[in-house]
Amino acid sequence: AAALGTTDEPTSAMSAGAPRSLASSGQKSIQDICHPLSAEESALNPGSAADTGLILPNGTPVDTSSLASSSSLLNRLQLDDDLDGETRDLFVTVEDPKKHVSTMETYITYRVCTKTTRTEFDLPEYSVRRRYQDFDWLRNKLEESQPTHLIPPLPEKFVMKGVVDRFSEEFVETRRKALDKFLKRVADHPVLSFNEHFNAFLSAKDLNKRQGLALLTKMGESVKYVTGGYKLRARPAEFAAMGDYLDLFTQKMGTIDRIAQRIIKEQSEFLMELREYGPVYSSWSSFEEDLHDPLEGVSGCMSNCSSALEELTEDMSEDFLPVLREYVLYIESMKNVLKKRDQVQAEYETKLEAVVFREDKKPPVPSDVEKCQDRVECFNADLKADWDRWENNKRQDFRQLLTGMADKNIQHYEKCLAAWESLVPLLQDKQEAEGETS
C-alpha cells in the first residue's frame, strides 16, 4: 500500500500501457473477503464465480464478467490493507468547536488533528482549524478529482434560521460528530485518503492559498472525466440494480423523515397539553388540606415527565433527522457517480462500435479505445468496491441511528417511570398514617 505512488494524478492510473499503479481500490477490502467455503460469497457476486472457477490467492473469485485486460486484473489483486487496523497509518479527529466573531460574520471553527506515519505528509502530526466551508471545499474537490469514487456525505449545509440555533451546543456537537465521521471515512478510504486535497486540508496552515493554487493546476484534470454526449444503451444489471436500489432507498428515507417529523410534531403538541395539565393539579392542591401533598406530588411528576419529553423531542430533531437527510444528499451524489460511469461506458461502446464497423481497422485495437476500456473497468471496479464499503457503512450507520432512537425512547420512559415510582410510596405512606390517626 505504501507503494501507492505519488499523491498526484489518480487519473494517471487510467493511462494506457504502463503497469497499473495501485491508485484504484481492489475489488474488496480484506475485511469483506469471505472465507472460500462461505456460502455468502456467491450471493454477493451473482454469476461471477461460476464464470471461470478461478480463485485468486486471497480467496476471491476472478470476476471476468467484464472485458478484462491483464493490467486491471492486477489491480484487483491489491488488498486494501489500509482498512486493517494494524496497518492503519492515518488517524484524524475533529474536535474543540469554537465560535469566532468578526465584524463581517460569526462562524464556528473546529480543530482537525492528524497523526500519521505516511511519507506523503511532511510531519507526523498536524493540528489545524477549519470551518464548515473548508469541509465543503474538500468534498467538492474530492468529487471532482475522484469521480469514480463515492465520497462520504457532509452534514447539511443550510439550516433554517429561527428553526435551529446554529450556535447552540447541541447543534454544534451534532455537526462536529458528522464532520468527524466524514473525515474518518475519507481517511479510511484506500484511494481518497491519498488525495492531495485531503492532504492539504489536513496539513496546510492557510487553506485559501492552496485552494487557489490547486484550482489553477488541477483545473485540467477534472475536465478529462467530463465525457458528455454519449448515449448508453443499457446499464449493466449490476449497476442498474444499484440505481434502482438507490431510488427505492431514497423513497424510504423520505418516508421515514416525514414520519419522524410528524412524531416530533405530535409529541410537541402533547407536551404543550402536558405543560398545562400538570399545573392544574398544583392549583387544586392550593385549596385542599389532606390532599395538598398528593396533588402537589402529581403536579411535580408531570413536570418531570414534561422535561423528559422535551429532551426526547430535541434529541430526535438534532440527532436523528440530520443523519437521514445526510443520506439523502449522499444518495444524490451517488446517483451522479452512477451516471458518470454510464457516460464512460457509453463513450467506450460508441468508440468501439465505430472501430468495429470500419472494416479496414483490424487489431490491434486503437489506443484511445483501449484507454476507454480501461477507464470503464477501473470505474466499475472502484465503484463496486466503494459500493460494498458504502453498504457496510450504511448498515452500521442505520444500526447506530435506530438503536440510538430506541435508546432515547427508553431513557425517556425510564425518567418518567422513576418519577411516578417515587411518588407512589409518598401517597401510600400518608394513607397509612391517616389510617392510624383516625
Binding site: 450471493a43 436500489y245 427505492l248 432507498f249 424510504k252 418516508t255 421515514i256 414520519i259 410528524r262 412524531i263 405530535e266 409529541q267 403538541e269 402533547f270 404543550m272 397539553e273 402536558l274 398545562e276 395539565y277 392544574v280 393539579y281 392549583s283 387544586w284 385549596f287 389532606d290 390532599l291 398528593p294 396533588l295 406530588g297 402529581v298 411528576c301 448498515r395 442505520f398 444500526r399 435506530l402 438503536t403 430506541a406 435508546d407 425512547n409 427508553i410 420512559y413 425510564e414 418518567c416 417511570l417 411516578w420 415510582e421 411518588l423 407512589v424 401517597l427 401510600q428 400518608k430 394513607q431 391517616e434 383516625s438
Partner: protein, 418 residues
C-alpha cells in the same frame, strides 16, 4: 368504589353498621340492554335498561348461592330516585349519578349515548351510585330506595305518592335566598366556596386531560407508520432486512398499545367526574342552609316588625313608615275599638310569629347539625377516594412506562441485529 371497600368503610361507623343496607344485601348492576318502545308522545324510541341484581349477604356466605333477584331500570328512573332523595334529605350530600351525556370527550370516544363503551361506563357508574347510597348511614334505610331495588312494578307511582315534588324548593326561591341571606353559617359559606373551586378545577382538569389524551393517541399511532415503512424497506435490504422487519412489528405493537392505555385513563376520568358532580351536591346542601337561614331571618324580621307595630300602636308613636300610619294621619286616627281590634290581631300574629321563629330556628339548627355531620363524612370520603384515584393513576402511568420500555427494548434488540 368497589363493594368490599364500601363495606370496609362501613366498619368505621360501628353503631350504624348494622343499619347499612349493604351489610345485608349484595347489590350490582349486572347488565345493560337495548329496548324499543313508545314514549310519552307516542313515538318509537330506543333506550337502554340496566339490570339490578340483589341478593342477601347471608345466603352467599352459607354457600347455597341462590339466584339473585333482579329487575330492569332505565336511567330516567335512577334520576327520579335521586331527585326524590335530594328533596327528602336536603341536609345530606346525595351521591351523584354518572353523566347524562358524554362530556369531556377526546376525539375517539363517541358522544353517542348508544355507544357500547359509554353504556358500559354508565353501567359501572350506576352500580357505584347504588352502592354509595346503600352504604350511607341515613340513605341506606330509605324505603323508596329499598323498593327501587326490589319492586319492579308500581315503583314510580309509589314515589309520586310521597308528594316529594311539592316539597321541592323552587329555583327562584333558592336563588333569592342566596342573595339576600344575611348571616349564613361561616362553615357553610366556606364549604360552598370550596364546592365552587372544586367544580372549577376538576372541569379544567378533565378538559385538559381530554386534549392530552387526544395528542397522546396521535403520538402512538404515528409510530405505526414506522412499522409499515420498515417492512417496505426490509424488502430491498439483504442483511438489514430481518432486523428491520421484526422491529417494524414492535412499532405496530407500540401503536396498538395506546388503546388500552386510554381506556384505563377513562376510568380515572370517571372517578374525577364523580367528584365533579359531588361538588354540586355539596353546594346544594349549602344552598339549602342558606334557604333555611334566610327563612329564619325572614320570620325573625317579620316578628320584629310586628312587635314594633304593636309598640307604636300601644304608645301612639309612629316610628316605622306604614301606609296605615299615613292614611290615619290624613284621614284621622282610628277609633279606640279599631285600635283594640288591631292590637289583638297583632298579639295573635306575634304569638304565631314567635312560634314560627322558634320552629324555624330549630329547623335551622337541626339542619346545620345533621348537614355538618354529613359534610364531615363526605370530606373524609372525598380525601380517601381521591387519594386512591391518584395512586391508581400513578400506577397506570408506571404500567404505561414499563410497557414502553419493553417495546423499545425489543425494537432495540432487532435494530442491533441489523
Amino acid at each position: 368504589m368497589r363493594e368490599r371497600e364500601m363495606q370496609s368503610r362501613g366498619t368505621d361507623m360501628p353503631t350504624q353498621e348494622r343499619k347499612l343496607l349493604l351489610k345485608k344485601m349484595e347489590i350490582s348492576v349486572a347488565e345493560a340492554e337495548k329496548r324499543t318502545g313508545k314514549n310519552a308522545v307516542n313515538m318509537q324510541e330506543t333506550y337502554t335498561v340496566y339490570l339490578i341484581e340483589t341478593r342477601p349477604v347471608d345466603a352467599a356466605s352459607e354457600g347455597t348461592n341462590p339466584v339473585p333477584d333482579s329487575l330492569w331500570r332505565r336511567y330516567s328512573e335512577f334520576e327520579l330516585l335521586r331527585n326524590y332523595l335530594l328533596v327528602t334529605y336536603p341536609f345530606l350530600v346525595v351521591p351523584p349519578l354518572p353523566e347524562k351525556r358524554a362530556e369531556f370527550v377526546w376525539h375517539k370516544l363517541s358522544a353517542d349515548n348508544m355507544d357500547p363503551d359509554f353504556v358500559e361506563r354508565r353501567r359501572v357508574g350506576l352500580e357505584n351510585f347504588l352502592l354509595r347510597v346503600a352504604s350511607h348511614p341515613d340513605l341506606s334505610s330509605d324505603k323508596i330506595f329499598y323498593s327501587f331495588l326490589t319492586e319492579e312494578n308500581g315503583w314510580k307511582e309509589t314515589v309520586f305518592e310521597t308528594g316529594f315534588q311539592a316539597k321541592a324548593d323552587s329555583r327562584l326561591k333558592a336563588l333569592n335566598a342566596t342573595f339576600r341571606v344575611k348571616n349564613p353559617d361561616k362553615r357553610f359559606a366556606e364549604m360552598k366556596h370550596y364546592g365552587d373551586e372544586l367544580q372549577s378545577v376538576i372541569s379544567q382538569l378533565l378538559r385538559v386531560r381530554a386534549r392530552a389524551a387526544d395528542r397522546l393517541y396521535g403520538v402512538y399511532k404515528v409510530h405505526g407508520n414506522y412499522g409499515r415503512v420498515f417492512s417496505e424497506w426490509s424488502a430491498i435490504e439483504k442483511e438489514m432486512g430481518d432486523g428491520l422487519q421484526s422491529a417494524g412489528h414492535h412499532m405496530d405493537a407500540y401503536a396498538a398499545s395506546v388503546d388500552d392505555i386510554l381506556e384505563e385513563e377513562e376510568h380515572y376520568a370517571d372517578q374525577l367526574k364523580e367528584y365533579l358532580f359531588y361538588a354540586d351536591a355539596l353546594r346544594a346542601v349549602c344552598r339549602k342552609h342558606e334557604l333555611t337561614q334566610y327563612e329564619l331571618e325572614m320570620a325573625a324580621q317579620d316578628l320584629t316588625s310586628k312587635k314594633q307595630q304593636r309598640e307604636e300602636l300601644a304608645t301612639g308613636t309612629i316610628r316605622t313608615f306604614s301606609l296605615k300610619g299615613v292614611t290615619s294621619k290624613l284621614f284621622g286616627q282610628e277609633t279606640p275599638e279599631q285600635r283594640e281590634a288591631k292590637l289583638k290581631m297583632l298579639e295573635t300574629q306575634i304569638e304565631e310569629g314567635e312560634e314560627l321563629v322558634k320552629e324555624r330556628n330549630a329547623e335551622c339548627e337541626e339542619f346545620v347539625k345533621s348537614a355538618w355531620v354529613d359534610i364531615e363524612r363526605f370530606k373524609e370520603q372525598k380525601d380517601h377516594d381521591l387519594r386512591e384515584a391518584l395512586i391508581s393513576y400513578a400506577i397506570m402511568q408506571i404500567s404505561m412506562c414499563k410497557k414502553g420500555i419493553q417495546v423499545w427494548n425489543n425494537a432495540k434488540e432487532c435494530f442491533s441485529k441489523m
